[in-house]
């Protein structure tokens, strides 16, 4: 685990926009209200990955 407090250290795995997933996961990007609405409509839990580009 890399703590945010180590602010000057580039902390996480760098990623560009997510490519189409080989696992077939369809990602919603940076839109919690949209994901929540979809989760409620489909009665599915949300998997959330919080990441940083640094």
């Amino acid at each position: 685990m890399r703590k945010l407090a180590m602010w000057m250290v580039p902390l996480a795995l760098v990623a560009a926009a997510l490519p189409a997933s080989a696992a077939g996961l369809s990602w919603i990007k940076d839109n919690y209200p949209k994901a929540l609405a979809e989760a409620k409509q489909r009665n599915l839990p949300m998997f959330v990955e919080v990441w940083a580009p640094w």
């Binding site: 685990m1 890399r2 703590k3 945010l4 407090a5 602010w7 000057m8 250290v9 580039p10 902390l11 996480a12 795995l13 760098v14 990623a15 560009a16 997510l18 490519p19 997933s21 080989a22 696992a23 077939g24 996961l25 369809s26 990602w27 919603i28 990007k29 940076d30 839109n31 919690y32 994901a35 929540l36 979809e38 989760a39 409620k40 489909r42 009665n43 599915l44 839990p45 949300m46 998997f47 959330v48 990955e49 919080v50 990441w51 940083a52 580009p53 640094w54």
Partner: protein, 370 residues
């Protein structure tokens, strides 16, 4: 870790969740980050749609097996299926952990107290308990619990996670008789974790980093150099097959040098990466950090300017401008350094994550007062 989320073994989970990625850098995520918190990166949540409660939470990297168990546990919690009282306490701990770590400690302790014989999540609860003690800055209890629990754990990825948390706690506190005693127990476990195939790259990096830091704190620079050499040799043996992997390797190289060592040693790899990832400002930022550490001030400013031209977000702008200001000040260019800091302050005020925003704003304001 992101490669893992693309793994074909996860195909069976595709229709069982709504998949959301949240970037720290995106301003539209401020409400989510304020509500759920996340003090490490990456951090993973499973959230039930009905009441928006967290049913599983994990800061830090996971192996594929850990990730599948995490998804199963999160889904089980979301539907409240097949839950024992210990499962419910474990879920409560996950729900509390990001923002109320003291209460999470209590919940995980309760999960272990309620755990039936042969409870399949005992090892997970033990590791989560140690990590929550870490989150709650209970360094001594965290390190001592890690040493005692990990000793009898099955040697898998959770074992490595528990050891990593214990080492982190030891490295977060000053040297003392209790910390020396805990290190004596934890270091062999850490060495053992390094021999296990289940220990993921992030955990290997963290073990090396903390062992180096703990060696330096005990004035044992020879041991720090030995761990540092082993670590760099492992990193150099990996041929990156993606920008993500290249970046992860470079992050580890920087952490290695920050723990102990000469920055010049990794400058060639960082320069290669900056050229290989022409749109990635972080590659320039890492290079700038190490040029600054090597006292190459003109090269630092140049790397910062290249990074700023690569469209960084608020965090990136704030960091690059602070590094640039430090290099300019070292060169005696005080007015230019001040201008860079003022621009950094403006960028820092736009950082979405509250904790990161406040930390950067405070740091820049202090630098401006000097």
């Amino acid at each position: 870790m992101r490669d893992l989320l693309d793994h074909s073994d996860l195909a069976g989970y595709a229709g069982q969740f709504v998949w959301l990625e949240i970037s720290y850098d995106a301003p539209e995520n401020r409400a989510f980050l304020t509500k759920y918190g996340a003090e490490a990166t990456p951090t993973f949540f499973v959230i039930a749609p009905q009441d928006e409660q967290v049913t599983a939470m994990q800061p830090g990297a996971m192996s594929l097996d850990q990730l599948k168990q995490f998804l199963d546990r999160g889904a089980s919690g979301a539907y409240a299926r097949n839950q024992t009282p210990a499962d419910a306490a474990l879920m409560r701990g996950d729900n509390l952990r990001a923002q109320q770590p003291a209460d999470a400690v209590t919940a995980y302790r309760e999960a272990l107290r309620l755990a039936p014989t042969n409870w399949p999540r005992r090892q997970l609860a033990e590791t989560s308990f140690v990590e929550a003690l870490q989150d709650n800055s209970q360094w001594q209890q965290c390190a001592e619990t890690s040493a005692s629990e990990a000793a009898h754990m099955t040697r898998d990825d959770l074992f490595a996670s528990a050891v990593v948390a214990g080492l982190w706690c030891l490295a977060s506190t000053d040297r003392s008789p209790w910390s020396d005693a805990a290190l004596q127990k934890l270091q062999p476990l850490a060495e053992e974790a390094l021999t296990l195939p289940a220990t993921v790259r992030d955990h290997r990096d963290e073990i090396y980093r903390t062992l180096m830091k703990l060696s330096v704190a005990r004035n044992d620079n020879a041991a720090a150099a030995k761990f540092g050499d082993r670590w760099l040799a492992e990193l150099d043996a990996i041929k990156p097959d993606s920008d993500e992997q290249r970046s992860a390797l470079d992050i580890a190289r920087v952490e290695n040098v920050q723990a102990f060592g000469k920055p010049e040693r990794i400058l060639p790899e960082l320069k290669t990466s900056e050229l290989a990832m022409p749109n990635n400002y972080i590659a320039s930022l890492r290079l700038a950090q190490m040029e600054l550490a090597a006292k190459h001030f003109d090269d630092t400013v140049a790397a910062c300017d290249r990074g700023l031209a690569r469209a960084p977000g608020a965090n990136g702008r704030a960091w690059l401008l602070q590094i640039k200001a430090r290099a300019l000040r070292e060169e005696g260019k005080t007015p230019e350094a001040r201008r860079a800091l003022q621009a950094a302050l403006q960028a820092a005020q736009e950082i979405p994550n509250q904790g990161s925003r406040e930390m950067n704003v405070d740091s820049i304001k202090k630098a401006l007062q000097q």
